[in-house]
């Protein structure tokens, strides 16, 4: 395999200016709010939050000793400084491949928002529609992780929406326009402990979600029958909490040894015909030395794996600056560590921001005649690449045989020209897209057995669930593994420019849709929502009795029994 990266062809002096002509930047959201394009280069100004009082304050992002830092000062609480990216090269590469914003949604709940992130829900300032939606089924969990303050036992209340509320939350997502949400993730707490978990999966299927996944610790999947029932009810993928390959890591992050349970769950997932995405939460000094081993382990299990989503830790609550700097892990660290530990993915050549795929979505929308799911998030929220895995288990990053940037630029150009034209001939657009792909695909550099036709079939599998990834014993589509990093924000590195473009959202019982980083950080709407919709003391006690006092409710029940009804 040639050690070149077609993706790097476009790097170099003047590349940014050259790229600007391929950016399609709308001026207004669907409801007419002006969109300010993403600022480029360093230093740059943005808006952030004070980690102490969450007031909106100005911030500067700048380079310091090869790293990208955020600096801000709250009049009341002083100065704060944090690392945004530990390598300026990766940071600048990610922002260079920007293809422009989207226009938000046509029917936001908040139609006259003035301030982001407080006027939330979605609002008419937001520029992206939902790519992946979360619904928290419960805040109870069958683990008691030392780092978690969100589960029912620790929080002191039980948030567990009724089936009727869940139906309405699902419908809110299907109501989003112009693109009805298609990918749903049930989360928690631990979603599998919800009394009507299987009904929720069925309902999501009935309401038209084409991809259903759960964010889970996997413990209940040690039972094969449970895995089979979940599959039958409509589940496709487990977003499996997977912090490492040794129990010393789990003892630190989850409070108990879990690797055996994870492996057992994987066996059952294989038997049941489900898929897995590993979700390792990475903390420097705890498990950053295992990011490479996690990737290798995923490749060894490629028959059931569709991706890895590494998530650098976010800090909630008070933490000293020293401890934060020691533990802070950024997407640049991920890119560096993966190269050092595996040699499989080169930094920064093989990495791209998730938003890089927007031209492909626009083209697909043009062919289909209506907008389609477009991941127009901020370029610094994520990075990723696809590995193509041959029959011997050898993997090749997509950038080695495909000029990714060249192809996406061409796609955006086709879209732009067709938008301007009165005649939109679908077959002509398809032919142009075909030629663009052909031109930028180099079969001589592709892994064994990956012909151009098979490459097209693999892309088809990405958008059409029935074709799958590496399904039919890999005869139609080639086996692939998405390796990605998603860095959710905390109050120390909060960037409002990123929040406005978020594509990972939460649907809540009051009919609101929140971006991930307003729900879990920043204004933390989670707390408000969960308290408002938590179950009464009587309901919790009744439910606990009916279920035989499960461990995940025991402490909460003890607390509630110890308190008088009026204090609950």
């Amino acid at each position: 395999m040639a050690n070149t990266s077609l993706g790097s062809k476009v790097d170099g002096v003047g590349a940014a200016a050259d790229h600007a002509k391929y950016v399609y930047q709308p001026r207004l959201t669907y409801l007419g709010t002006p969109i300010t394009p993403r600022p480029k280069g360093l230093p740059k100004e943005t808006q952030s939050l004070c980690p102490e009082c969450t007031a909106i304050i100005p911030a500067i992002i700048l380079e310091e000793d090869g790293r990208v830092m955020m600096m801000k000062t709250c009049r009341e609480h002083g100065a704060f400084k944090d690392i945004v990216y530990s390598d300026v090269k990766v940071y600048l590469k990610m922002e260079e491949y920007d293809f422009g914003d989207n226009r938000g949604i046509m029917n936001p709940k908040v139609t006259n928002a003035e301030v982001c992130p407080t006027d939330c829900g979605l609002c008419d300032i937001h520029t992206s529609h939902t790519g992946l939606a979360n619904i928290d089924l419960t805040n109870r969990c069958n683990l008691t992780c030392p780092i978690c303050f969100a589960n029912a036992n620790a929080a002191g209340y039980l948030y567990e929406p009724s089936f009727e509320q869940i139906l309405k939350m699902l419908q809110t997502l299907r109501d989003e326009r112009p693109v009805a949400v298609r990918i749903i993730q049930f989360s928690g707490g631990e979603p599998t402990v919800h009394p009507r978990f299987l009904d929720c999966l069925r309902a999501a299927k009935d309401l038209g979600f084409s991809h259903i996944q759960i964010a889970t610790n996997g413990l209940l999947f040690r039972d094969l029958e449970f895995a089979e029932k979940a599959k039958e009810a409509g589940l496709h993928t487990l977003y499996l909490q997977f912090d490492g390959l040794t129990d010393d890591v789990y003892l630190k992050t989850r409070g108990e040894p879990l690797i055996e349970a994870k492996v057992k769950a994987m066996e059952n997932v294989r038997k049941a015909g489900l898929k897995i995405v590993f979700v390792p939460t990475i903390v420097r000094g705890v498990n950053d030395h295992q990011v490479g081993d996690i990737l290798k382990f995923a490749l060894q299990n490629i028959d059931i794996m569709s991706g890895i989503s590494y998530q650098p830790v976010t800090f909630t609550g008070r933490i000293s600056a020293r401890e934060r700097m020691e533990k802070r892990f950024t997407l640049a660290d991920l890119a560096i560590n993966i190269e050092e530990q595996t040699g499989l993915i080169r930094n920064p050549d093989d990495w791209f921001p998730l938003a890089c795929t927007t031209p492909f979505s626009r083209l697909l929308g043009l062919v289909r005649g209506d907008e389609t799911v477009t991941l127009s998030c901020h370029n610094h929220c994520s990075l990723g690449t696809y590995l193509f895995v041959d029959a011997q288990g050898n993997s090749t990053p997509v950038t080695r045989f495909l000029d990714v940037v060249g192809m996406f630029r061409k796609m955006n150009e086709i879209v732009e020209k067709s938008q301007m034209s009165r005649l939109r001939i679908k077959n002509l657009i398809k032919a142009q897209a075909f030629h663009a792909l052909r031109k930028y695909f180099d079969e001589s550099l592709a892994p064994e057995g990956l012909t151009f036709t098979r490459f097209l079939q693999t892309l088809d599998g990405f958008v059409d669930h029935s074709k799958g990834r590496g399904a039919l014993d890999g005869r139609y589509t080639y086996k692939t593994l998405l390796v990605a990093g998603m860095h959710f924000m905390d109050s120390y590195n909060y960037d409002i420019n990123r929040v406005k473009r978020c594509v990972i959202h939460y649907s809540t019982p009051d009919g609101t849709i929140y971006p991930f980083c307003t729900y879990n950080s920043g204004p933390v709407f989670r707390e408000k929502v969960e308290r408002e919709f938590s179950l009464s003391r009587e309901e919790v006690l009744r439910r606990a009795e009916e279920e035989g006092y499960p461990k995940e409710l025991r402490r909460l029940v003890e607390k509630m029994k110890g308190s008088s009804p009026c204090c609950s």
């Binding site: 001026r27 007419g32 009727e164 326009r177 209506d370």
Partner: protein
């Protein structure tokens, strides 16, 4: 022949206070096909919960029987904006599949809907339908808003509908309408169009 007992049973189920149960009953009734589309549709569209009304439209779309188009046209007047959007989308789908729907005529009033989401969605459906005269129609609504002297925010929101059109320019013959407006209204209109990235030739 429809059994009277079915009708009563369904009526009872629709009174069930539990929405999830009403939903499940509605799906079962839809699958069983014991009530004609029109009757089933009207019963469901009377439900207080928008969820039931939206799902009813989705369920009826799978049956596509006589009376379906009438039900959709009725749903265009629903009190919930999202029900109106879903009904418009189903009508658009029917038109694309060759059913006899006078799409422009039935959807036209929704370009003046009080809800901005309905207006925007309906404009995008009409534009994608490829029917003739949509540019004129969208601009007509825009000029109407200008003429009524609404506030700038409302004018900007309607200019967004114009921005959905493929043309980046207001056709000359329609620019004349802009010229016929009072100076202040004309300037406000030009400002809104410019913000939306649309050129308008005006004296």
């Amino acid at each position: 022949m429809i059994k009277e007992s079915d009708r009563f049973a369904f009526g009872d189920v629709l009174k069930n206070p539990d929405m999830a149960e009403r939903y499940e009953a509605m799906i079962s009734m839809g699958e069983a096909g014991s009530l004609p589309t029109e009757e089933l549709g009207r019963l469901c569209l009377r439900d207080d919960e928008p969820f039931i009304r939206k799902r009813a439209l989705a369920m009826l779309a799978t049956r596509r029987e006589k009376g379906y188009l009438d039900i959709l046209c009725e749903a265009l007047r629903d009190r919930d904006p999202m029900v109106r959007i879903i009904a418009a989308e189903h009508l658009h789908a029917c038109a694309l599949e060759g059913e006899k729907v006078r799409l422009v005529e039935v959807l036209k009033p929704l370009l003046r809907d009080s809800d901005p989401g309905v207006r925007t969605r309906v404009a995008s459906l009409l534009i994608n339908s490829g029917e003739k005269g949509i540019t004129e129609l969208v601009l007509e609504v825009f000029f109407e808003v200008l003429d009524r002297g609404r506030n700038q925010e409302e004018i900007d929101r309607h200019a967004v509908l114009v921005a959905l059109l493929r043309d980046r320019k207001v056709p000359k013959h329609l620019s004349k309408k802009l010229d016929s407006l009072a100076e202040e209204k004309k300037l406000r209109g030009l400002l809104a169009l410019r913000r939306a990235g649309i050129e308008a030739a005006s004296s």
